[in-house]
């Protein structure tokens, strides 16, 4: 058995949890290896050395600082309580970006010195568009009055065509 293997088995040996065969092999190695004997002796000593490290008391100043934490730290929010954390969620970022752009554009109309000219120009365009729309509607309304005249003119045209080309008018 090699020293590296023995080293790994020593804590288990100390707990008496090795199989009889492993225990026999390990003890045979220990009899002829002073290094592993020393390691075993240190391993036996270590638990008491570690256990003898005493607990330290905390200082009154630290205790006072710990007591004061609620006064110095923002209060933790309760479960289900009102929170604005959703504003910072990544899924909400496009909405925030769109709102920022909208407010940026709006600021030109509200705060820019030439904003009134811009608004006047928009008003003019709107009125122009509205008057054009009105004209189109008026024309559309007068269209039924033209229909009989249009029908008559079309019929006259067809008649004149049929007289000039009798063969084709038969087909029609």
């Amino acid at each position: 058995m090699k020293c590296s293997r023995v080293e790994k088995l020593l804590p288990i040996y100390l707990e008496d949890e090795l199989s009889p065969q492993e225990k026999r092999l390990l003890e045979a190695h220990l009899r002829q290896c002073p290094d592993c004997q020393a390691t075993l002796a240190y391993l036996r000593a270590i638990p008491s050395l570690l256990a003898s490290i005493p607990e330290r008391e905390i200082s009154p100043s630290l205790q006072a600082k710990l007591y004061a934490i609620p006064a110095l730290t923002p209060a933790p929010t309760k479960k289900g309580g009102f929170s604005l954390d959703w504003l910072l969620r990544p899924s909400f970022q496009p909405v925030l970006a769109a709102a920022s752009v909208f407010l940026f554009v709006l600021s030109f109309f509200l705060f820019h010195p030439d904003g009134r000219f811009l608004s006047r120009s928009i008003n003019e365009q709107l009125h122009l568009g509205y008057s054009r729309l009105e004209k189109i509607v008026a024309k559309a309304e007068s269209l039924p009055g033209y229909l009989p005249a249009l029908q008559e003119s079309l019929q006259n045209s067809l008649k004149s065509l049929s007289q000039s080309r009798p063969h084709e008018s038969d087909k029609i």
Partner: protein, 177 residues
């Protein structure tokens, strides 16, 4: 107690501090090896604890939850600062030595304890915490496994590896076993 803290009860927070401050401070002190640094770490852990109280699930064990939070902070801080490279320079040489012992015994015991204490910082943070919880603080494997978030078998193997490494350190120092 946690709910009362969330409701703003100063008394409940003081009770929480009184219950866990010494345990957390000693965990931090044994982990980092320096008194003042352990004080800073303890304060940071309690601030984190205060702001995380709403995340506590009442069905879970409060002690294990608090100590797990402390463990996570210690390991995070260790990884951020790599404090293991510096020396433990504030070791109290009369730490825990019996007054009845003779002067030579005091010297040997102190020297060995100092070697073990300094040897702790050479262990990886996971192994070090397992050794601290089981061998120094005397906690059960079940409790240590809950705090460290690993199976009991892993805790046992970490403790054994830690003890072997410490034995090697003592052996290399050539002290009396």
């Amino acid at each position: 107690m946690v709910q009362e803290c969330l409701d703003g009860s100063e008394g409940a927070w003081r009770t929480l501090v009184d219950t866990f401050s010494k345990r957390i401070f000693n965990l931090a002190y044994q982990f980092c090896g320096r008194y003042e640094e352990a004080e800073d770490l303890t304060q940071e852990i309690f601030m984190k604890l205060y702001t995380s109280l709403q995340k506590y699930d009442p069905k879970k064990n409060l002690t294990a939850w608090v100590l797990t939070l402390a463990k996570n902070h210690l390991i995070d801080t260790y990884r951020r600062t790599k404090r293991e490279k510096t020396q433990r320079d504030d070791f109290d040489e009369n730490l825990g030595v019996e007054i009845e012992s003779g002067p030579e015994e005091i010297m040997v015991a102190t020297e060995q304890k100092k070697l073990v204490w300094q040897g702790l910082e050479k262990l990886s943070p996971e192994i070090r915490l397992a050794v601290i919880l089981i061998e120094i603080q005397g906690r059960s494997y079940e409790e240590a496994a809950a705090i460290l978030g690993v199976p009991q078998g892993t805790v046992k193997s970490r403790v054994n590896r830690g003890k072997i490494q410490l034995a090697r350190i003592l052996s290399q120092a050539g002290g009396q076993p």
